[in-house]
């Protein structure tokens, strides 16, 4: 089971780009890397996933280097509404979430 490690918390200001890095040293060959976002008092929601290189959608970008031992979630020009907890998963069989990264966006 791939164990992920990410920072417990991060601070940012509105309009900045935020990059959250997750390490997953023993990720399995077939596993995708998935990121979820959770707002207070809500369940997590899927935001992006990828296998290698770069994936971009309307919410974020995900960068995965060739060795796949880490990944970086990039949030462009964050706003106050991006304040949330962000989870990195490399499941390997079970949806294990861990503590996530608590992102606080300030005005």
């Amino acid at each position: 089971l791939a164990k992920t490690t990410q920072p417990i918390s991060m601070d940012s200001y509105e309009g900045q780009e935020v990059n959250i890095t997750c390490s997953h040293n023993n990720i399995a060959t077939n596993d995708y890397i998935t990121w979820y976002q959770q707002f207070p008092s809500q369940g997590p929601r899927f935001i992006i996933q990828g296998y290698k290189t770069k994936v971009t959608n309307e919410v974020a970008s995900l960068f995965i280097p060739a060795d796949r031992k880490s990944s970086t979630l990039s949030l462009p020009r964050v706003s106050l509404s991006d304040t949330a907890v962000y989870y990195c998963l490399a499941p390997g069989g079970k949806l294990i979430f861990g503590q996530g990264t608590e992102l606080s966006v300030k005005p």
Binding site: D31, G43, P44, Q49, G93, L95, F97, Q99
Partner: protein, 115 residues
């Protein structure tokens, strides 16, 4: 939004009483999960199901049991509630156990208080 309903949404119960939380889905997804969320611990997997009558333990399964007699319902039971089980419980569904091109959808949560 995915069709997931958790009931009840809030419950207060006394120590030592049995409690059952229900997760109902209308998506016909094969996999269902129960999590608990506590400050400082993130989201922890309690039990999950990969089909009718097929369940397995997660990270923190002690004190909890589950049942799935129909595809659409996944029940979480606390046989004898304790104060340490005061938490917010989330149910989730997915089409596969690992997101090979799929994603998990979460319910709105159930806030359980054991006094």
């Amino acid at each position: 939004d995915a069709g997931i309903t958790q009931s009840p949404r809030h419950k207060v119960t006394e120590t030592g009483t049995p409690v059952t939380l229900r997760c109902h889905q209308t998506e016909n997804h094969r996999y269902m999960y129960w999590y608990r969320q506590d400050p400082g611990h993130g989201l922890r997997l309690i039990h999950y199901s990969y089909g009718v009558k097929d369940t397995d333990k997660g990270e923190v399964s002690d004190g909890y049991s589950v049942s799935r007699s129909k595809t659409e319902d996944f029940l979480l039971t606390l046989e004898s509630a304790t104060s340490s089980q005061t938490s917010v419980y989330f149910c989730a569904i997915s089409e596969s156990p690992t997101p090979f091109g799929t994603e998990a959808f979460f319910g709105q949560g159930t806030r359980l208080t054991v006094v």
